[in-house]
């Protein structure tokens, strides 16, 4: 087994243990396990960031055009958003949903570690890095918003049905989750807008045309952007709250997963990171 694989497994292992602890904490088996889980997630995140950097340097291209790279980058963006947010806001209990979701993404990705990226990205450079980085950041932040929405719906159901158990006790209040959700969607909308603008500028600079505009991934991302815009409008202009808007955010996660991965299973895309040719070269 090569070193890269072992180190990646180590990183994913940290996430797996963190998931176990975070879920146990949410269910009340290890009330103090959440802090350890977040620490382990951070350690795993740093290890996997190292792996991505190493792969990027080895391939001399952005480590984002392979299933492993893409899913790992997405999981890291989500973990980073959670780590950042939890330092400022009361987010106890949400780790029990965030970390297992990130671990699931990593497990789906690790099976593709030995597969090469698709065709090298036509453009490498600061513009491309900016476009990809903002897109992943938007996906990570929006996923966290959707997970807050899931927590909101769980808490709503607990309150409605008077299930006042450990999960009810450990998750934050509805209002906290509602704030978290709306702030995060706002940030995600901004990041996705910037990423799309950067993408358009990149296409212009390489003389690309309609094939990019009609690319299934671009279309799916545009739908996601519209959904985020609707959410932002519902909150900022109509001041909508409650379980209805939480459902919109959860639906948004479905759209995100479709735009991110599902679209590649239906139609070929110019954003070809899901290709699965065996690796040729690399570090």
């Amino acid at each position: 087994m090569d070193r890269e694989f072992i180190v990646s497994i180590l990183g994913v292992g940290c996430y797996a243990v963190a998931s176990f602890l975070a879920v146990a904490s949410l269910l009340g088996f290890r009330p103090k396990g959440e802090r350890v889980a977040i620490t382990l997630m951070t350690v795993g995140g740093l290890i996997l960031t190292g792996v991505l950097v190493f792969r990027g340097v080895g391939f001399t291209s952005l480590p984002a055009f392979n299933r492993f790279d893409a899913l790992t980058a997405y999981a890291l963006a989500l973990s980073g958003a959670y780590g950042f947010w939890s330092a400022y806001r009361y987010t106890r209990g949400i780790a029990g949903i965030v970390i297992p979701y990130a671990t699931l993404l990593l497990l789906c990705g690790i099976s593709a570690l030995k597969l090469n990226g698709g065709d090298p990205a036509p453009l490498q450079g600061p513009g491309m890095i900016f476009h990809v980085a903002t897109a992943y950041a938007a996906f990570g932040v929006f996923s966290l918003a959707s997970i807050s929405a899931v927590a909101y719906l769980i808490q709503d159901s607990n309150l409605k049905h008077k299930r006042l158990g450990v999960v009810w006790e450990r998750l934050p209040s509805l209002e906290t989750l509602d704030h978290l959700m709306s702030r995060l969607v706002g940030v995600a909308f901004l990041l996705l807008t910037v990423s799309i603008i950067a993408g358009v500028i990149l296409i212009r600079s390489m003389g690309g045309g309609e094939e990019w505009i009609l690319d299934p991934k671009v279309l799916a991302t545009a739908i996601l952007w519209v959904l985020l815009a609707v959410f932002v409008h519902l909150r900022a202009s109509s001041d909508r709250h409650g379980s209805g808007i939480a459902l919109v955010a959860v639906f948004g996660l479905g759209c995100l997963l479709f735009a991110f991965m599902g679209v590649h299973l239906i139609a070929p895309s110019l954003h070809s990171f899901i290709q699965m040719r065996p690796m040729v070269g690399g570090p």
Binding site: K160, K162, L164, S173, L174, E175, T176, G242, G244, I245
Partner: protein
């Protein structure tokens, strides 16, 4: 350690007796000074709450001086006969007193087992006594152990989990729906006693904006003035409903007061912002159909009582576990106060045994007629001497350990020191 507690609590005395012994926190230092004046070498802490007044002492023979202490605690009230005082007050000493302190701080002795206020009150009592210079090494250690034990019990058992009163449950629900109660509006419909208690609990947690609606507007105004809120005409209820984040209803109306349609209108105006509705009235004030409206959380008195009963049952289950932690705490205290003395005296025993044995062996084996004795035989003699000394000291050692367990070590140590002359030897050294 001469630790003792002398006290009166809801277990032993009705409120009219307890209130005579009750001491406001501002009066505690003066009372402690009065006791200290009579018992200058004592350590003192006075814990006074609505359910108990207890004086923790070190260095006072409470059994001999209890009547003096009763009088001081009752502030000179001489209406009670001696047998009445004996009946109302309890006296516990040494480890029994330590166990009582741990049980009190952990809320195992409280009227509502698991309520958390008592720990704060005990901490405050220690702080006041400490500031007045009444706390020495023994009481400081005891109280710190008590806080540690209480913390363990709170974190390791379910004794504090779940609220058990209607008012505290209302607060708990409010805190699970809203982030910051200070920005929320509480609407009180009807001015029942329980609703007022719930309002008070919410205000204690930061709620400031209060609307009071009562059929008797005058009574509503009185309550609104008391809680710094606004009194609203009762027939404007539906108009004001949308402004309320939390509604507590407790009218004595024989019919529904808040209809589902009105709640639906309110939630539409609120654009889905959650609304918590607590219905304490019997028969119910809030239309049960309102519970099916999205973002509205309705709790009736039955729901609250059911939850309270479940929480009480959970607490009861945790009581045994909590007591075992208290017993561990008491064992640690015993070890701390008496274990050190025990170790010291056992060490002295060992040293003495070794010294006696070695001296006797040295003298015996140095005799000329034993000079030719082979080394294995000499070793056997040494071994025999050690065994004899060991056997002789075994029973006293066990007696000392038993005394330590029973809290009688101090007396035993004095006798042992006297019999074996340990003190004199220490002085020589």
């Amino acid at each position: 350690m001469k630790l003792a507690v002398i006290g009166i609590s809801y277990h032993t005395a009705p409120v009219d007796v307890r209130e005579k012994a009750s001491v406001r926190s501002g009066e505690v230092p003066a009372l402690l000074q009065r006791i200290k004046a009579q018992f200058p070498s004592s350590e003192l802490v006075l814990v006074s709450t609505c359910n108990r007044t207890e004086l923790y002492t070190v260095g006072i023979d409470v059994n001999a001086d209890k009547h003096r202490l009763f009088q001081i605690l009752l502030k000179g009230d001489e209406h009670f006969r001696a047998d009445e005082l004996e009946q109302h007050f309890y006296v516990k000493s040494d480890l029994e007193a330590a166990e009582h302190m741990l049980a009190v701080a952990s809320s195992l002795d409280a009227m509502v087992v698991g309520e958390s206020e008592i720990l704060g009150q005990v901490k405050q009592a220690l702080g006041i006594a400490d500031e007045a210079g009444m706390v020495g090494k023994v009481l400081h250690t005891l109280f710190q152990r008590a806080f540690k034990t209480a913390k363990r019990i709170h974190s390791e058992t379910d004794i504090c989990r779940g609220r058990v009163s209607v008012s505290s449950l209302a607060v708990e629900f409010a805190e699970k729906v809203f982030d910051d109660l200070s920005t929320k509006t509480v609407m009180l419909v009807g001015a029942g006693e329980t609703a007022e208690l719930a309002l008070k609990s919410l205000m204690d947690r930061g709620a400031r904006d209060v609307l009071v609606l009562n059929r008797s507007h005058g009574r509503g105004q009185d309550l609104a003035e008391r809680c710094g809120g606004r009194a609203i005409q009762f027939d404007l209820l539906d108009d004001y409903l949308a402004r309320a984040d939390i509604v507590i209803s407790s009218t004595s109306a024989p019919h529904l007061v808040i209809h589902a349609a009105a709640v639906q209108r309110a939630i539409d105006i609120r654009r889905g912002k959650p609304m918590l509705m607590v219905d304490i009235a019997v028969p119910r004030d809030i239309d049960p159909a309102a519970a099916h409206i999205k973002n509205v959380y309705v709790y009736s008195i039955d729901d609250l009582q059911l939850i309270a009963a479940e929480n009480i049952a959970k607490r009861r289950e945790a009581v045994e576990q909590a007591w075992s932690i208290v017993r561990q705490g008491v064992a640690e205290i015993s070890e701390h106060f008496e274990g050190g003395g025990l170790r010291e005296v056992l060490q002295k025993f060992d040293e003495m045994g070794r010294e006696v044995c070695e001296t006797a062996l040295k003298r015996t084996l140095a005799k000329e007629r034993l000079a030719g004795l082979p080394e294995p035989s000499r070793e056997e003699i040494r071994e025999l001497a050690r065994k004899i000394v060991g056997k002789m000291l075994a029973e006293p050692r066990e007696a000392l350990k038993r005394a330590a367990k029973n809290g009688e070590l101090e007396g035993y140590v004095r006798v042992v020191n006297d019999l074996f002359g340990f003190d004199r030897k220490d002085l020589k050294k």
